[in-house]
C-alpha cells in the first residue's frame, strides 16, 4: 500500500446508522492502470446491492478488495463500522496486519464464478471445513449446521459426493452453503452464474432469492443477469471506467437510466439477449 495521509478518515464509524460496508475514497491501480478511482460506496445492513457494468469497469475488483483478495492503494474500507484495510493505532489508522484483517474478514463470505469448492472433500466436508477448522466448532454442531444449509440449497442428497461428480449449478449451490456456514454478515457473489449452463442458472438464482427472503444478510453481487438484478436488488450500481456512473433503485435504473453510458450499456445488453 502506498503511503498516504489517512488523517481525514475516522478510526471507526459511529452513529445511529452505520453502514455495514463503506468504501471511502478507495483507489486501486495496477501500475499506471487505474481500476478504481476514489470510490465512495455505502451499503446498509440488510441491503442487497447489485453491481453491473462492462468488463474492465472495476466491478469485480470491488468485491475482491472487500474480501481482501486485493490490496488497495488509497482510501479505507469499513465493515460494520470498523476499518478492514486499516487498523487504529493510537489516534491514527495504519495498514491492517493479518490478525486484524482476519478478525474483520470473519464477517464476510464470498461465492466465486468458478465455485472453487475443495475437490478433495465431499459437499458436506466442504461446508464443515470452515466451521470446524476456522471457527473451532465441535464436529457434531458443524455437521448439523452444514446439513441444514445443504438442505436449504437443495443439496442434502448429494452431501457425500465430491465436487467432480456434481454439475456446475450443484457445485455453486454447495459453495453458497459453504460460505453461509461461516455465518457471515455480508455475502459477496462474484458473477456466480456466469460459468453455468443456461438451464441451471435458475437453480442458483433461486437459492439467492431464498437467502434474500429468509436471512437478514447484507449482499453485494456482481452479475450479468439483468433480470435477476432487477428482481431482487434494493439498489443497482452501474460501474464504468472505475467509477460508479449511475446508481439507484432497480426500477428507476433499468426503466429510466439518466446517463448516456448507462443507456448504451443497457440497450447493448438487451440486444444480446
Amino acid at each position: 500500500m502506498d503511503a498516504q495521509d489517512l488523517s481525514g478518515f475516522p478510526l471507526r464509524l459511529e452513529g445511529d446508522t452505520v453502514p455495514m460496508v463503506s468504501f471511502r475514497k478507495v483507489t486501486k491501480s495496477y501500475g499506471a492502470l487505474v481500476v478504481l478511482d476514489s470510490l465512495d460506496l455505502d451499503i446498509d445492513e440488510g441491503e442487497m446491492v447489485s453491481v453491473i457494468g462492462p468488463s474492465g469497469s472495476g466491478k469485480t475488483t470491488v468485491l475482491r478488495m472487500l474480501m481482501t483478495l486485493e490490496t488497495i492503494n488509497g482510501g479505507v474500507i469499513y465493515v460494520d463500522g470498523e476499518p478492514l484495510t486499516h487498523m487504529p493505532r493510537g489516534d491514527r489508522l495504519v495498514p491492517a496486519d493479518s490478525r486484524h484483517m482476519r478478525r474483520i474478514r470473519a464477517k464476510i463470505g464470498m461465492c466465486f464464478q468458478q465455485f472453487n469448492l475443495f475437490p478433495h472433500m465431499t459437499a458436506l466436508e466442504n461446508c464443515m471445513e470452515g466451521p470446524v477448522h476456522v471457527l473451532g466448532l465441535p464436529k457434531k454442531e458443524a455437521r448439523e449446521r452444514s446439513e441444514e444449509l445443504l438442505k436449504m440449497v437443495g443439496m442434502a442428497e448429494k452431501r457425500d459426493q465430491h465436487p467432480s461428480r456434481l454439475s456446475g449449478g450443484q457445485q455453486q449451490r454447495v459453495a453458497i452453503a459453504r460460505a453461509m456456514a461461516m455465518r457471515p454478515k455480508v455475502m459477496l457473489f462474484d458473477e456466480v452464474t456466469s460459468a453455468l449452463d443456461p438451464e441451471v442458472i435458475g437453480e442458483v438464482t433461486n437459492v439467492i432469492r431464498k437467502l434474500v427472503a429468509e436471512h437478514h444478510l447484507t449482499m453485494l453481487m456482481v452479475t450479468h443477469q439483468m433480470g435477476f438484478a432487477k428482481d431482487i436488488s434494493d439498489r443497482v450500481c452501474f460501474f464504468y471506467g472505475g467509477r460508479i456512473e449511475e446508481q439507484g433503485p432497480p426500477e428507476q435504473l433499468f426503466a429510466n437510466p439518466k446517463r448516456e453510458r448507462t443507456q448504451q450499456f443497457l440497450s447493448a445488453v438487451k440486444e444480446a439477449v
Binding site: 474480501m67 481482501t68 483478495l69 482476519r102 474478514r105 470473519a106 464476510i108 463470505g109 464470498m110 466465486f112 468458478q114 472453487n116 469448492l117 475443495f118 475437490p119 478433495h120 465431499t122 471445513e129 470452515g130 477448522h133 476456522v134 459426493q161 465430491h162 465436487p163 467432480s164 461428480r165 459453504r178 460460505a179 461461516m182
Partner: protein, 221 residues
C-alpha cells in the same frame, strides 16, 4: 561356470546386497521426502531468511555431484567433528541430494494448485498454515506424484554410489564378486537386472497405487 552355478554360489551375497540397497532406498526416500517438503515450503515462505536457507541448500545439493557430496559427508565432515557411520552417511547423502530436487517438485506443485483454491480458503478465513495443510497440500500431492515416481527411481540408482564408501549394497557385492571371479558379465548383468526389477516392479507400481489412492480421495477414480 554356468549362470545357475554362479547364482548358486554368489546368490547369498547378491541377496544381502539387494536388501541393503532396498533399505538404503527406503530410508533415503523418507529423508528426501521430508527434506523436499520442508525446503519446498521454505522456498515459498514470505520470510527472506527461510527462503535464503532453502535456496542455498537446493543450489548446493542440486548443483554439485552426488558422489562428491557423499565423500564430503563421509570423509570431510569428521574433520569438523561430525562422524557418521558409513551406512548412515550413504543414505543421508542420497536423501539430501534427491531432497533438493524434490523441493523444486514440491514448490512447483504447490504453485500449480489453482488460484481459486487459495482464494476460497482465504474467503473461509483460514490462516496461511491451515490453508496449506488442509487445502493446498492435499491437492499438490496429487500433482507432484508422477514427478516423485521419476525421482525415486533416480534415487534407487543413486544409492549404487555408496558402494564407493564400502557400504555393502548390491553394487558393492557384485564389484567384490567381479574382483575375485572376473565374471563381469554375470556379476554386473545380474545387478542391472535387479536394479531394473526394483524400479519397474516395485517403485513404479507403488507410485501408481499411491496415485490411484489419492485420486479416489478426490472422487475422480
Amino acid at each position: 561356470m554356468s549362470y545357475l552355478e554362479f547364482l548358486g554360489q554368489y546368490g547369498d551375497r547378491i541377496l544381502s546386497g539387494t536388501l541393503v540397497t532396498v533399505l538404503l532406498t527406503v530410508l533415503a526416500s523418507a529423508l528426501a521426502v521430508a527434506i523436499a517438503l520442508a525446503a519446498g515450503l521454505m522456498r515459498l515462505s514470505p520470510n527472506v531468511f527461510l527462503r535464503g536457507i532453502a535456496t542455498v541448500y537446493i543450489e548446493i545439493f542440486r548443483g554439485t555431484s552426488l558422489l562428491v557430496q557423499l565423500y564430503w559427508i563421509f570423509f570431510v565432515l569428521p574433520l569438523f567433528g561430525i562422524t557418521l557411520e558409513k551406512f548412515t552417511a550413504g543414505f543421508v547423502a542420497v536423501g539430501m541430494n534427491l531432497g533438493a530436487y524434490g523441493a523444486e517438485l514440491v514448490r512447483g506443485a504447490i504453485l500449480s494448485v489453482p488460484k481459486g483454491q487459495w482464494e476460497a480458503a482465504l474467503a473461509l478465513n483460514m490462516t496461511p498454515a491451515k490453508r496449506m495443510v488442509r487445502v493446498i497440500l492435499p491437492q499438490a500431492v496429487l500433482i507432484m506424484l508422477p514427478g516423485w515416481g521419476n525421482l525415486l527411481i533416480e534415487l534407487l540408482k543413486g544409492t549404487a554410489l555408496v558402494a564407493l564408501i564400502a557400504v555393502a549394497d548390491l553394487m558393492f557385492q557384485v564389484k567384490q564378486i567381479n574382483g575375485t571371479t572376473f565374471l563381469s558379465a554375470e556379476a554386473f548383468g545380474t545387478a542391472l537386472i535387479i536394479y531394473y526389477v526394483i524400479a519397474r516392479f516395485m517403485i513404479t507400481p507403488f507410485m501408481r497405487w499411491l496415485e490411484r489412492a489419492m485420486q479416489r480421495k478426490l472422487g475422480r477414480a
